[in-house]
Symmetry: C2
Subunit: 149 residues, 2 copies
């Protein structure tokens, strides 16, 4: 396939720029398109819901993971609690701590937002040729590795 395609990017620097811009534009479009999704939550709230989908956590852990101050996380969690998306349980081992977890509503909201974001990309990927889809399949593996470094 490489021998059949003319590349506008000839060197590493040029490729890096093109690739960075392409990823950032795709990302911006997806964020923008899924802003008005049903029951939309703000980015920082969604981020916390995703962390809680992985596992229940304490407010302190969430503050560390999201790199915000603890009082900021207190506020974010208060908002999610008001909307019934998370629940709080006192830790029986260490009663200073609180265990936060998703409610069924929180879990389904995360799924719904994910589906909205996927839908944007699914529509566009479906229009591409099998060859282009093949290129993107290989690229996504490489990009995932790069992002995880």
């Amino acid at each position: 396939m490489a021998t059949r395609t003319l590349l506008p990017s000839r060197d590493v620097a040029h490729l890096a720029t093109d690739l960075r811009l392409a990823c950032m534009r795709i990302s911006r479009r997806i964020r923008y398109e899924s802003t008005d999704a049903a029951g939309a939550v703000a980015p920082h709230q969604f981020s916390v819901l995703v962390r809680l989908e992985e596992a229940p956590r304490t407010p302190g852990e969430l503050a560390d993971i999201e790199r915000v101050a603890k009082p900021s996380m207190t506020r974010t969690l208060a908002g999610l609690l008001d909307r019934g998306l998370i629940q709080r349980v006192a830790d029986v081992q260490d009663r200073r701590q609180v265990i936060v977890s998703l409610t069924p509503q929180g879990r389904s909201l995360v799924s719904a937002i994910r589906r909205t974001r996927d839908a944007w990309m699914v529509t566009r990927v479906a229009r591409l040729s099998p060859q282009e889809q093949e290129v993107l399949a290989q690229a996504s593996v490489i990009l995932a590795r790069v992002a995880a470094e």
Copy 2:
């Protein structure tokens, strides 16, 4: 190349999800890494500087482009003006209007931030094999087209 690579993503839905996550992760990493760049500006400020790099504009045009209310743009521009990154000139044609443009300092800050963002990607792309770079070169063309749709 396609015949030599096993793909974890077998269908369009799966590919769309993987690709979306990869792009968003790359984008997040780049934004995060370039946050502490010299003379860093907030995302909304940077966005305005980039618009002004394209051409001088009025506050009203900038508000429309950035999809914020006019008073918000007034504040953003005040901050950039304080830092000497933009300059304001009264429009001689229509004296209600103000023409905003980049100062030399604003122009070089935009370049510096771009270089920081590129540097992150250059480092990582340079470590990849020629075959992987080839895949990403083709992918960036496809992704740019998808984002522009």
